[in-house]
């Protein structure tokens, strides 16, 4: 029998899993509060998915348009989230984002400037005013590098290329994490009084995704298996503009900044089709003609916003419909044109990495010709259910922030609200974890049987003489999710997906990784499959339960929003028999003051009458 004391062991007050924006910010906060902090990440430091964020970080600084303030940001966020957001989280986010951005500047971030020398802000979908602080189209890189530098300065323990396998409990409380070093294949045990999940999303369960390889839903699966509740898992955001050609780059993100800076969507008939897809709720704030949209772009404050800047769910569905009705581009997308809208020099300056990306990967010069784009799985609004103020999940000592957590974005996230989410809730989860640790009476001990079982489960994959190919199982899963749990869903398809997932679970249970455990890609792939399958099943089951179309969740058999569902969250958790179960839970009434802001007219908000 394996002797647990022989496993390399580290002890921390707080262990943060994931070194993207949320994880780094959480760890910095814990360290600031005197916690013995550790940070483990699957990749090298600075490579997490945050690095790919392009457009910017949303914060009502009011530098470009003085009418902006937290209330308008809050209202935009709630409207974008179709009022399913946790009210308190959306409030905290809108209130605190400006301070978090200024803090980054103090830590060395260099944002683009206005002519007065202040942090510049750009327009983005669903945001009433220019609100996104940015650095060209590489804002995520700037943010992660700044946080990385700050983390290095703090000097806490950073465990790179170290993957978390399982959360460990002592009784009902968090007591640690079992992981493995990718490089050596050796197991590592972290004893910790609190754990923060900052593991991002699970887009790799789909084939067409903007997500990098790390995004295998590890946090969702680990939280679920530790007994935590997941919430809002049916809301998976398809970003409207991913690359569609060549096939090998299909899904790679094309920033919304292209549209924010004036880019327009065209179908094969060269029609600016978005004017035909304006939802009634947004019609009073959206331009009615190309002439008005163009005036808005030039800064005319009496004009309304172009329809290309409607929320992502609306634009993604519109593109899908254009393609399905035969008006798509040659490779099955639509055209995104910036070339005819801005001078070549301006495009290269404002969108340098888009210019570079299309030139290098698709041999398309975006200053001369339009891009071909289509929807790509981008973001999970759902995740571990957390307390709005402390970010603690339903498991004591387990916290979650960023994409790993649910609630902030409701049914649909606005562009730019993710980077600000990472900063605001990364910090709050750090505060929450530190307070929890301080109040902890006794230190829970890791249950050693669980450690042994987890090690056995992981090493079985290496010891099999025959078995399935983990890459093939993963590809199979991606096909199933793309076909049956895509952008438009139906009961029949979702039920087929559940049957397919049972088959895939059986395949995954027999998976084999040849070779030794040292930097063995097949083994890593095999271990990620478990989390991918839990994530895929949670999304599918939640999607089956929600019988309406809201935000990013579209059911052809239940079109339109249903009022009764606005008051409901779908909860996913592990049942007593070990099977996944769902529950529909009634939401609490919103605080009156917040409801008044969210439902106010923009005139009343601007005049400060709310």
């Amino acid at each position: 029998m394996l002797d647990v004391s022989e496993i390399q062991t580290f002890e921390h007050d707080v262990l943060v899993i994931g070194a993207g924006g949320a994880g780094l910010r959480a760890a910095i906060e814990c360290s600031n509060r005197g916690m013995n902090t550790g940070l483990m990440c699957k990749s090298l430091l600075g490579k997490a998915h945050t690095v790919m964020a392009e457009g910017g970080v949303a914060a009502a600084l009011g530098n470009v348009d003085r009418r902006d303030n937290w209330k308008v940001h809050f209202r935009d966020t709630m409207r974008g989230g179709k009022f399913l957001n946790q009210w308190r989280m959306a409030e905290l986010h809108a209130r605190e984002a400006p301070d978090r951005v200024r803090e980054l500047e103090e830590w060395g971030a260099v944002f683009d400037r206005t002519t007065e020398g202040l942090i510049s802000q750009r327009n983005f979908g669903g945001h009433r005013y220019p609100r996104l602080a940015h650095v060209g189209d590489r804002t995520g890189l700037e943010m992660i590098r700044t946080l990385q530098d700050q983390a290095v300065l703090k000097g806490f323990g950073i465990y790179m290329e170290c993957t978390a396998l399982q959360l460990l409990l002592g009784g009902r409380q968090i007591a640690g994490v079992l992981g493995y070093w990718r490089e050596s294949g050796r197991f590592v045990l972290f004893r910790a009084r609190a754990v923060v999940l900052a593991t991002g999303g699970g887009g790799r369960a789909w084939r067409i995704t903007s997500n990098s390889w790390e995004y295998t839903g590890d946090g969702y699966a680990m939280a679920y298996e530790a007994g935590a509740q997941l919430m809002d898992m049916e809301f998976t955001q398809f970003h409207p503009t991913g690359m569609v050609w060549p096939p090998s780059v299909r899904g790679i993100l094309v920033t919304e900044g292209v549209r924010g800076d004036g880019g327009v969507l065209l179908n094969s008939k060269r029609e600016r089709f978005m004017f035909r897809y304006i939802p009634e709720k947004f019609s009073v704030e959206t331009a009615a003609s190309e002439e008005e949209a163009n005036r808005w772009l030039k800064g005319d404050k009496t004009a309304r916003r172009p329809p290309e800047l409607l929320t992502r769910d609306v634009v993604a569905r519109a593109i899908t419909q254009e393609v399905n009705e035969g008006r798509g581009s040659p490779h099955g997308g639509v055209f995104l044109d910036i070339a005819s809208r801005l001078p070549a020099e301006t495009i290269r300056r404002k969108l340098p990495s888009m210019y570079h990306q299309f030139k290098e990967l698709a041999e398309v010069d975006i200053t001369r010709e339009p891009m071909e784009v289509g929807p790509t799985l981008h973001y999970f609004m759902g995740g571990a259910r957390v307390d709005s103020d402390t970010q603690m999940t339903t498991v004591p000592g387990l916290f979650a922030a960023g994409e790993a957590a649910a609630g902030m974005h409701g049914a649909n996230r606005l562009g730019g609200n993710s980077l600000s989410d990472l900063l605001v809730f990364g910090r709050l989860s750090g505060i929450g974890a530190a307070q929890y640790v301080r109040g902890l009476g006794h230190v829970p001990r890791v249950e050693e049987d669980a450690v042994r079982a987890a090690v056995r489960r992981a090493t079985e994959v290496l010891n099999r003489d025959t078995g399935t190919n983990p890459y093939a199982v993963h590809e199979d899963l991606q096909g199933v999710m793309g076909r049956y749990v895509g952008i438009v869903r139906a009961e029949g398809d979702l039920k087929i997906a559940l049957v397919e997932l049972e088959r895939l679970k059986a395949d995954a249970a027999r998976v084999r990784a040849p070779g030794a455990s040292q930097y063995n890609a097949a083994w890593h792939e095999a271990l990620d499959l478990r989390a991918l399958l839990v994530t895929a099943e949670a999304v599918t089951r939640a999607a089956l339960v929600r019988q309406e179309s809201r935000g990013a969740h579209t059911r052809v058999d239940y079109p339109g929003e249903r009022q009764e569902w606005q008051n409901m969250n779908v909860i996913v958790r592990r049942g007593k028999d070990g099977r996944m179960e769902t529950e529909v839970e009634r939401r609490q009434e919103p605080p009156k003051t917040l409801a008044a802001i969210a439902y106010a007219t923009i005139e009343d908000l601007e005049a400060n009458r709310v």
Partner: protein, 247 residues
């Protein structure tokens, strides 16, 4: 679809050799796509470090037909139809396995650099910087830490002087701090004494391989060298600077 011949270095720190793989290649593929296909079909345990597959994270650095490159940004159609493609790990860093190297030395160097120290905020709480003044550091901050510049640097690669020179990546990091409009720290003495600015002999190999097209030598290293020269070898200017503490 066409079949291509790949030679991939397989092995560990203990040793290794090139192994040949024949694989179908589809139009539009980059080298990383082909490596993934080989991994999925022919060599399940092939070690590759990669993340974003969009040239944004700098993980998949390797040497392709002798040239340091990002595998995700190297298109297959730039190679001749019958050309064999040889892929090997970066030479400057110790091999972990196959195409993965141990780049931790770079992270250790980064820790030695005196951190950003901003001037206090003005009374209204708003830092003001002009775009023209931040353009310069924004160029350096584009760095994705792929370490390809470190890989080709003669001082590190051929002369094995990791003990004396931090290399182009860290020089760019130093430049991004030294030229930051808000920074107040003085790193000039350390540039000369600890980071080895004098060892770079300006061959510009680092600039050539930079996937972000940062003008590493001309805009970063040379101006830093000039600061060192001004401080240490121009006594009059040195005195003036000492008196006025100008950066």
């Amino acid at each position: 679809m066409s079949e291509r011949l790949f030679r991939i270095w397989r092995g560990t720190a203990a040793g290794g050799s090139f192994v040949e793989y024949r694989v179908d290649v589809d139009p539009g593929m980059v080298v990383l796509d082909v490596l993934h296909r080989i991994q999925a079909r022919l060599a399940n345990d092939l070690a590759i470090r990669w993340n974003c597959k969009a040239g944004k994270c700098g993980s998949c650095s390797m040497e392709i037909n002798g040239r340091p490159r990002l595998a995700c940004m190297t298109r297959m159609n730039q190679f001749g139809g019958a050309e064999m493609i040889a892929v090997q790990p970066m030479k400057t860093f110790p091999v972990v396995k196959d195409l993965v190297t141990d780049v931790s030395w770079n992270y250790e160097q980064n820790r030695r650099i005196p951190p950003f120290r901003p001037k206090p905020r003005p009374a209204d709480g708003q830092y003001r910087m002009r775009q023209v003044d931040v353009d310069r550091v924004q160029e350096f901050r584009k760095c994705i830490e792929c370490f390809l510049c470190q890989d080709v640097c003669h001082v590190l690669r051929d002369q094995s002087r990791k003990d004396a020179f931090v290399g182009p990546r860290l020089m760019i990091r130093l430049a991004s701090l030294e030229m930051h409009p808000l920074d107040t720290e003085d790193r000039v003495p350390a540039l000369r004494e600890e980071f080895g600015s004098g060892l770079c002999n300006i061959t510009r190999c680092c600039t050539e391989v930079c996937p972000e097209q940062i003008q590493i030598t001309d805009n970063g290293i040379i101006p830093l060298k000039e600061r060192v020269v001004d401080r240490y070898f121009d006594p009059l200017l040195g005195l003036v600077r000492k008196v006025f503490r100008r950066k």
